[in-house]
């Protein structure tokens, strides 16, 4: 073997034809992804157009959603979507981060894996099953509490005052927490069920970034005599902050689009929210409840316009999450 064999790259040249066919095939199938996106935008845009043209910006600011009168303003559903999603986020974040800390920092390995797995299963429970459970198990409990509130004579002045305020079309912060109906359905139940549903998304992202915090961050603090909590609060969490925030915003995206569980429990009222215990609706819940029955063209178009709003909102939130994870994560965590 004194001389290296010099072969011309004949085989490569021979195979280039079939390679090209394969690449075109793969590219063609992968382009379906682009096609699905383009078709979605086109479909939603085309069908939402009549409503958007008729009402203009008023579609988003108008408070009246009246299929009979032919007036469609989505302000109460936008408010419902934002209030339920943000409230669920505020409650779920501390719980999710705590459970992530338990799995990544506290639990021994034999316990960490099963607990982490249970949290992942929480994300696998279908929306309708959450809805069913909320309707049959939690709603009656809340309903009993509401009934007890109304039966308690000491609450009568508050109830009267708030009813008067609401009758005049006014709201106040204190009245926001006064129950309005009975039976447990409403905004509060939607918040509770959304909280449970988005927990696993934040928790699993938080767990992953916490596990990626370099070990010497922790050891340096321990060497200074810090307690476990001090290590977590000053060396682990600040380091994992950006990743956790990204997970929180991904969970927000889920909350905004969550449909059937919310549609089943929120009470489906298109009036502006005035109480945490009142009936309300979200963009997604109105699509689920009304699209099938929307006979009239403008009603149908308005419901699709809600879908388009939800589409734009979800895409924006997802981009924000990705941007935060990409930009703010310290090097070495990606």
């Amino acid at each position: 073997m004194s001389e290296p064999a010099r072969r011309p790259p004949a085989r490569a040249a021979l195979s280039s034809g079939s390679d090209r066919v394969f690449q075109i095939l793969i590219l063609g199938l992968a382009s379906v992804i682009v096609l699905v996106f383009v078709l979605s935008v086109y479909q939603l845009g085309r069908e939402a157009w009549p409503a958007l043209r008729t009402f203009g910006w008023h579609f988003f600011t108008g408070r009246t959603w009246n299929p009979v009168g032919g007036t469609f303003g989505a302000a109460s559903m936008i408010a419902g979507t934002l209030v339920t999603s943000l409230a669920a986020l505020v409650i779920s974040v501390p719980l999710a981060v705590a459970s992530a800390l338990f799995v990544a920092e506290y639990a021994p390995k034999w316990l960490a894996n099963p607990v982490g797995y249970l949290i992942e299963l929480l994300a696998a429970v279908p929306s309708v099953v959450y809805g069913l459970w909320a309707l049959f198990v939690i709603a009656p409990v809340l309903g009993r509490w509401q009934t007890a509130y109304f039966l308690d004579p000491t609450n009568l002045p508050t109830i009267t005052r708030c009813n008067n305020l609401w009758a005049e079309g006014q709201t106040s912060l204190q009245c926001f927490f006064v129950p309005t109906g009975a039976g447990g359905r409403g905004l509060a139940l939607a918040v509770i069920i959304l909280t449970v549903m988005i927990l696993p998304y934040t928790a699993s992202v938080a767990r992953d970034v916490i596990r990626l915090v370099p070990q010497d961050q922790r050891e340096a603090m321990y060497a200074l005599g810090a307690t476990k909590w001090e290590v977590i609060s000053r060396a682990v969490l600040p380091y994992a902050r950006a990743g956790i925030l990204g997970g929180v915003i991904l969970a927000l995206g889920r909350a905004l689009g969550e449909t059937l569980a919310v549609a089943m429990v929120i009470g489906d009222s298109q009036e502006m929210i005035r109480s945490l215990w009142g009936n309300a609706s979200t963009l997604a819940s109105v699509i689920a409840n009304q699209f099938g029955d929307a006979q009239e063209a403008l009603h149908r178009s308005s419901v699709v316009a809600l879908g388009l709003s939800l589409f734009v909102l979800s895409v924006a939130v997802n981009f924000a999450a990705r941007w935060i994870i990409a930009r703010l994560t310290p090097k070495g965590i990606q």
Partner: protein, 288 residues
């Protein structure tokens, strides 16, 4: 993880002030409590469905269609067959496009279209399922009416991003040297990808497909106005079709005890299947 074990036991514990020690203990207890709170709903839901639904999971449940509103008896055969049919059809779209998308992202990273495909598959992952239902409605139902095919299309679209993501990730785990070995033998690139790289990543791809199936098997929202539901067993994909999540939704919001009972049994069956699928998916990926 037992990180504390790495700390030398000669740590000057005595110098810890009671306040700091108390705070440490308190936060540890809170974290344990929060974890219990997070896991509790899962256990509560499963126990509730076992208690309420197990009795209804009899032979009738699997072999009969729902009785007329309010009457006793019947089962969810229509929903079980409908779910299986739609998932099978959705898999054709989801697996074909998803795996091809994953191959494209992992094996042709310098293609000018690659960043667009990557970005849009991420965007698709974040689109709410009900919006996909609206899209499938506009594409198929407006022209051809409610059908199992329209429902399957919506579910297939929802599967794509999950399969793309996992396929891309596992393909990237296959060492470059494996590809180089194949190419140096003179094999064309497509043979290397199909015969060497894909089999090496098969476990991970199967995991992704199973996770995607588990995810869309529970979706009812996009089926409300595409597959629409059907009280009878239907094998014609151009006609309305039922699905387990649809029947759970109808039953749970029904006023009749009998429908509620079927819904609970259906929910128990559905989450059991989903949990088993996720467990198996985990097994498959761990074996690789």
């Amino acid at each position: 993880m037992m990180r504390a074990a790495a700390v030398p036991s000669t740590r000057p514990r005595a110098r810890l002030s009671p306040a700091r020690r108390l705070k440490n203990l308190l936060m540890g207890a809170l974290i344990l409590l929060a974890t219990l709170l997070v896991v509790a709903p899962l256990i509560l839901i499963f126990v509730y469905l076992l208690r309420e639904g197990l009795g209804a999971l009899n032979l009738d449940f699997f072999t009969r269609t729902p009785a007329p509103e309010g009457e006793a008896g019947g089962g969810l055969l229509n929903a079980i067959t409908g779910s299986l049919e739609m998932l099978a059809m959705a898999s054709v779209i989801g697996v074909l496009v998803g795996v091809a998308g994953g191959i494209f992202l992992a094996e042709y990273p310098r293609h000018p279209l690659m960043p667009t495909v990557r970005m849009l598959s991420d965007v698709l992952a974040g689109i709410p399922a009900i919006v996909m239902g609206l899209v499938a409605y506009g594409l198929i139902v407006l022209k051809f009416g409610f059908s199992g095919l329209a429902g399957a299309l919506a579910l297939g679209f929802l599967m794509i991003p999950i399969v793309v993501r996992t396929t891309e990730e596992v393909l990237k785990l296959v060492p470059l040297s494996v590809r180089e070995a194949g190419l140096s033998l003179g094999l064309p690139r497509w043979v290397v990808i199909l015969r060497i790289v894909l089999p090496a990543a098969a476990g991970g791809i199967v995991t992704g497909v199973m996770l995607a199936l588990a995810r869309v098997a529970g979706e009812a929202a996009p089926l409300l106005f595409t597959a629409f539901g059907n009280s009878g067993v239907n094998f014609d994909p151009t006609k309305p079709m039922s699905a387990l999540p649809l029947e759970i939704y109808r039953g749970a919001t029904s006023a009749y005890d009998e429908n509620q009972r079927l819904a609970k049994a259906g929910a128990l069956l559905l989450i059991t299947l989903i949990f088993v699928t996720s467990l198996l998916a985990r097994r498959v990926s761990r074996r690789k």
